[in-house]
Symmetry: C3
């Protein structure tokens, strides 16, 4: 039951050829996640891959839309890694991804934020199935920490 369910998410990750990264330590004096009742808040995640920042620069300048979409996917993987840490390793305790907050490092006049944040939305649905479908916003940030292309935070319902 719980095991079978747990297998299904871990099995999907494997089938997608995905390994969750090591949950990154916060860059400052805060927590990577907090829990209140059945609500899990995951702090804004950056596109870390293999322990280092993978996509740096503003979209439409140093970074292409495709690269930024990949950055969003990496942010989503880091969100899932934090969720797994928050849930003692058991991603099956996720009832639903409630919301993603997507910030794209983009200059004035850029218009393609939805496509970029899709990199995260699609990953969330691919891994969690229907439980991965969420509300979200996608907006432009004038700049982001360490000049990353994308930062995304998340809210989950958990059991």
């Amino acid at each position: 039951m719980a095991t079978a369910e747990a297998n299904s998410i871990e099995a999907r990750l494997a089938a997608l050829g995905l390994n969750l990264p090591i949950a990154a330590a916060p860059a400052a004096n805060y927590l990577p996640f907090t829990i209140s009742g059945s609500t899990l808040y995951v702090a804004g995640q950056l596109p870390f891959e293999d322990g280092k920042l993978a996509v740096v620069g503003a979209v439409g300048k140093a970074v292409s839309v495709e690269e930024a979409e990949h950055a969003a996917r990496l942010c989503a993987l880091n969100i899932l890694a934090q969720a797994k840490a928050a849930l003692d390793g058991d991603l099956e305790r996720i009832v639903r991804c409630l919301k993603l907050g997507g910030f794209v490092n983009a200059p004035a006049g850029f218009t393609d934020h939805p496509r970029i944040i899709n990199g995260a939305s699609d990953l969330m649905v691919a891994v969690l199935g229907d439980a991965g479908r969420h509300a979200r916003f996608a907006v432009g940030a004038s700049s982001l920490p360490m000049n990353v292309a994308v930062e995304i935070d998340a809210v989950f319902e958990i059991r």
Copy 2:
């Protein structure tokens, strides 16, 4: 009771001469709203009017403060349309608007975000009465999807 209350919101909408738009489909692979217990999350809404984007461009450049205030009002109407869809057509199930997150497409040095997001805040109170009074943030975004002037998301308490 429930009917009388329901009438009051729908009656206010009518008295204000407002028709809620058709709840817009998301521009990508996500949901327009999610519900967790008594909390309703509405995804970031754009200033759609009669099915098309109504206010496009950066405030202080292509778009005036008055036009952006109207855009915020349109975002709020779309938020209410999504809430109505989430609540099976019964806006009376809204206990309270808890929070609006307001993003204004505005260049460096712009300072009038509160007045613009007031377009949404005032609408929410006009339609929902005291239940429409909410916490909020109002910030500048370097750019927004499809170059809209304003994007706003929302959290409601529902019954």
Copy 3:
């Protein structure tokens, strides 16, 4: 018990030489906070000090990183002032700070948002102890209301 706990936060504020500001009235038609069950939402706070805006301008231009860090600290003090007002003067009813949303008025290419928002995170932990440790995001805003350097909103769990 409740008194002793209450004393501990108030005692920490005193030991830090901090006075909470007067909870500022919203700049527009919204509330400084809303409560839903055990969740308290505090509206985006600006760096008010002694009733006036203390740190105005974009970081990296008119405002230094150190000044912006101070602005973030002021935002956190204003958040606590609003929380105190929301909780009938009893900060001990805070179970935990769940999340801070940090917006830094910063130009393209700026990278030091985490250090700036630390001004708020450190203050929250200094005052609330472990209950002050939170998830957060830190992003760049193209502009902010009244040209402030920092705006921060918050979510708390309360009892």
